[in-house]
Each structure stands twice: as structure tokens, then as C-alpha cells.
Amino acid sequence: MSKHDSPTDDPTTAGPTPDSTGKTGAIDINDLSKIYDPEGERVVAVEGMDLDVEAEEFVALLGPSGCGKSTVMECIAGYLEPTDGEVLVDGNTISEPDPKRGVVFQENRLFPWKTIKENVEFGPRMHKGVEEGRAESILDEMGLDGFEASYPSGLSGGMQQRAELARLLANDPAIMLMDEPFSALDALTKEIMQKKLLEVWERDNRTVLFITHDVEEAILLADRVVIMTARPGQVKDVIDVDIERPRDPEVVTTDRFTELRERALSVIREEAQRALEQEEGG
């Protein structure tokens, strides 16, 4: 499954390295550092992080609160410029946001002033043109038929999250960057969304980087679970999830799952303790 057993791949392999299989959506993070400096108060969020994500791989990113997960994602999305190091996508350095790299946030960022349909058609309209009927079919798939003309404020939280996913899919990105997309949902809605996401991913072949605090969610969804250290963030451990696909929520009861979960949890606990000490100190 994976060439990436170690998070410390040689960082000198920068430059165009098209995936040998011709797939797109590979992410190379080389020696990435990000320092925030609001009014002289230096916060070293990420320091010397290395991580390679293969094209069409599903990677989950876990780590204590404040360890820099979102920072890493924003560097990949092109919102932030790294203080040091670089992020390559399919061998090219990232300079700005790009429709190839779709992003979903924890709180939905549907445009409140556009209807659900206008939201879903926003991406295509911006760069290649709207294909008649496509928005409807995606919304249909997400169980949102009948809500095309509603504004986001008229939908429940779960439906909003589904609409956001629909907007992302309509744009057909090679990479999906998801920052705790389901953490605000209740248990059941979350389960449904996880199923939906797996379904879509297994069909469409996209690279997914999925940030979560939920260990079970990470194992259920990902090919690899990357655990970060407390701030400044680096890769602490990578766990290969060798549970076969297609998966469904029932797998959480298997022994292998429990085993992987225990392993992830113990790594996290260790790191979390450190994070807590940091916090208590400040």
C-alpha cells in the first residue's frame, strides 16, 4: 500500500517528480516551518515537517489541539506562505489557492448570500463554465434535492455540511483538504457523512488529507494516519491502516481496528500530555 513508512523521506527530492503511475494529486511537504508573528509575539506553529502524500491516497492527520494541523493544511491550500521549506503538489511549488485543491472547513463556508445551487455551481462558473444539470445531480446524490433554491441558513447543520461537500465535488478537485469537517455534527449525521465520503472517494480517486481529533474516524477512513507532535508541529508517527476496503462503520468492532486504535491512542496520549503541560505553563 505505501512507500511512506517513515515520515522522514529525503527532503532533497524537491522539484517536479510526476507520479510514476500518471495519477495526479501527490503532495510533498519538505522541511516545512511556519512561524506566526502577530505584533512581535512569535509563535512557531510548525517546524521542519516532512510528509509525502501519494496521489489518490487518503491520509488522516491527528494531533493535539494547537499543534499546527490547520497551519499545515493552509500551507497546502495556498492560503499561507511557509516561513521555511516548501510544499509541492505534483512536483510544483504552491503559490496560491487553486481549484485543483478543494478545501472543507469545520464550520461550513457556504456563501450565505447564494442559494445552495449557486453555491454548488460557483466553482465551475469561475473557471470552466457550468454544465447543465450537474449541480442537480450532485445535490441529488447528497440527498439535497428540493433544496436547490434555499439559502444555506435554511438548512440544518448536517445538510449544510453535505452541501459544502457537494460544492467541493462539483469543482472536481484532485486533492481534497478537509479540516475537521464532521466534528460539529452529531454522532449519527457524522456516520452518514463518513459513509458518503468513503463512497465518493472510493469511486472518484482523489487525494484526501483529512484532519480530525477523532481517532476512530481517522482509522475508519484513512489509508494512513499521521500523528503530529505538540507545537511546534512535526510528524511524530505514521500508522498504516491495513483494513481492507470498502469499509463500513461496522469495522470498528473488529480486533484489528481496536488494535490500531490502541496504538494511535497511546501515541496521542503521550503527545497530548506534553501539549497540556505547555498550556498549563502559559
Binding site: R101, G102, V103, R109, F111, P152
Partner: protein
């Protein structure tokens, strides 16, 4: 107040067996009480109320004014004076909107323009629009455009400041989301900045319209000519207090109608927001 505490309140009052009148009745009561107090104050001569008119006479004068009786010696009717004031407000606010919104969007989105323009504008902002009346009369070729200038100043700053504030508080995440969906900066301006700023602009316009009315009345009182402000003051000079009261009602009505119109238009333009 929550429906819950209202329930409780009603229950309590119910215990004293005083039936609580319905909301509508209470609101009408409020108005009736106001008119009764006004009338009583005039009759009793509370403070100097005996030198003012009561609601009854005001009502009569109102009717005759609405029937087309000229307001003072000038010969113009209440409709003509209202039209003058309203037109001044309309023209001034329109110009203010046309100038302040683009300016505010520019200042709000570009740090460079902000540095170049905003400090200079801030120099003028603390000056109340009415204070410009003498200078406007001095500089404007005829005093009529002078009044419009002053009203424009009144409407301009609230719209400008709210537009800038609106742009500045556009959540970065929407801009990022749009960029990640492939929007260029022009698209972002058109599809994110402008709609996200609209509610704030609407707030600015309604504040601006309010200030425009205050300014137009003051300017018309000071500078004279025509308009409701002038009528109020002219009637005052001639001690026609019933006309003064009718003028106040007229200006209040116009102010109310224009505020409602702005509110309705604003609601329509920002119809995605949950209506509460």
C-alpha cells in the same frame, strides 16, 4: 424577552385578576396615553405647554394642510414643502451612496488607498454636518445647492464608515473558499466582498438617511427658503404653533417612510439572511 417570561408575567397579573390586555391593545394604549398626556399638559399649562398647541388643534390644522391650505404666508402647500425636503434628501443621499460605497470598497480592500485617503477623510469626519452650513452658503453659487451639499456630508460619512467596516470584517475564510474554488480577485470582489459587505452598507445607508433628515431640517431652518424645516421655523417666528406641530409630524412621517423604504430595500438585497 422570551415567550416564557411573558407567560409568567401574564400568569402573575392573572393572579391579581387583572386581565392583561393584548399586545395590540397595549400598543394602542401607549399612543393614546401619549396624546392624552399632551392634551392634558396643554390644558393645565404644565411647564410652558399652554404656549404650545394641543393634539386637537394640531389635528384640525393637519387636515386643512392636507387639504391643500398653504402652510404659511408663502403660498406653498405641505406637499410642496415636503417634496422640497424629500428631494434634497433623495438627491444628497443618492450622491452620497454613489460616492461613499465605491470609495469605501476601495479603502476597505486596498491598504495603499486606505493609507492615502482615509486619514484625510478622518480629518473631516468629527465635524457635524450642520457646522458646514455657513461655509456651504459662502461657497455655493446659490444657497439651494448649498443645502444639498450639507445634507450630502451628513449622509456620506455613515455610509463610508460602514462600508469600510463591512469590507474589513468580511471573513477571510469566504475569500479563501472562493479562491480555492477557482475565483480570481475580480470574482472574489464581485461574488464575496460585495455581498458580504451589503448588510453593513445597508446599515450605513439607513444611518445616513437618518442624518440626512436631521441635517436637512437644520439647514432649512438656518438657511431659509422652502422645505419642512423652513416651514417649522417660519411658523415659529410667526407663533403659529399649530403649523409648527404639523411640520414636526410631517417631517416625522417622511423620516419614518424613508427609513421603512431603506429597511425594505435592505431586506430584499440581503434576503439570504435569516429574517427575525
Amino acid at each position: 424577552m422570551s415567550a416564557e417570561s411573558l407567560e409568567r408575567l401574564q400568569r402573575q397579573v392573572g393572579n391579581w385578576t387583572v386581565p392583561l390586555p393584548s399586545k395590540r391593545v397595549r400598543q394602542l394604549l401607549s399612543i393614546a396615553l401619549f396624546l392624552a398626556l399632551w392634551s392634558a399638559a396643554v390644558r393645565v399649562g404644565f411647564l410652558g405647554f399652554d404656549k404650545f398647541v394641543g393634539p386637537e388643534t394640531t389635528f384640525q390644522t393637519m387636515l386643512s394642510a392636507l387639504g391643500g391650505t398653504p402652510m404659511t404666508d408663502g403660498g406653498e402647500t405641505i406637499y410642496e414643502h415636503s417634496a422640497y425636503s424629500a428631494l434634497r434628501v433623495l438627491v444628497a443621499v443618492t450622491i452620497a451612496i454613489l460616492v461613499a460605497i465605491p470609495l469605501g470598497l476601495t479603502i476597505g480592500t486596498s491598504r495603499r488607498w486606505e493609507d492615502a485617503l482615509f486619514p484625510a477623510l478622518e480629518v473631516f469626519r468629527p465635524v457635524p454636518p450642520v457646522a458646514w452650513v455657513p461655509i456651504a452658503l459662502l461657497l455655493m453659487p446659490t444657497f439651494r445647492s448649498g443645502v444639498i451639499f450639507v445634507v450630502f456630508v451628513g449622509a456620506f460619512f455613515p455610509i463610508l464608515v460602514n462600508t469600510i467596516e463591512g469590507v474589513r470584517t468580511v471573513e477571510e475564510e469566504y475569500v479563501q473558499a472562493a479562491a480555492s474554488l477557482g475565483a480570481e480577485s475580480r470574482d472574489i470582489f464581485r461574488h464575496v466582498i460585495i455581498p458580504a459587505t451589503l448588510p453593513s452598507i445597508v446599515t450605513g445607508v439607513s444611518l445616513g438617511v437618518g442624518l440626512a433628515w436631521i441635517t436637512v431640517v437644520a439647514a432649512e431652518m438656518i438657511a431659509g427658503g422652502v422645505g419642512i424645516g423652513y416651514i417649522i421655523f417660519q411658523a415659529y417666528r410667526l407663533l403659529q404653533t399649530d403649523v409648527v406641530a404639523v411640520g414636526m409630524i410631517a417631517i416625522g412621517f417622511l423620516g419614518y417612510v424613508s427609513a421603512a423604504a431603506v429597511h425594505q430595500t435592505g431586506n430584499y438585497l440581503t434576503r439570504w439572511q435569516e429574517i427575525d
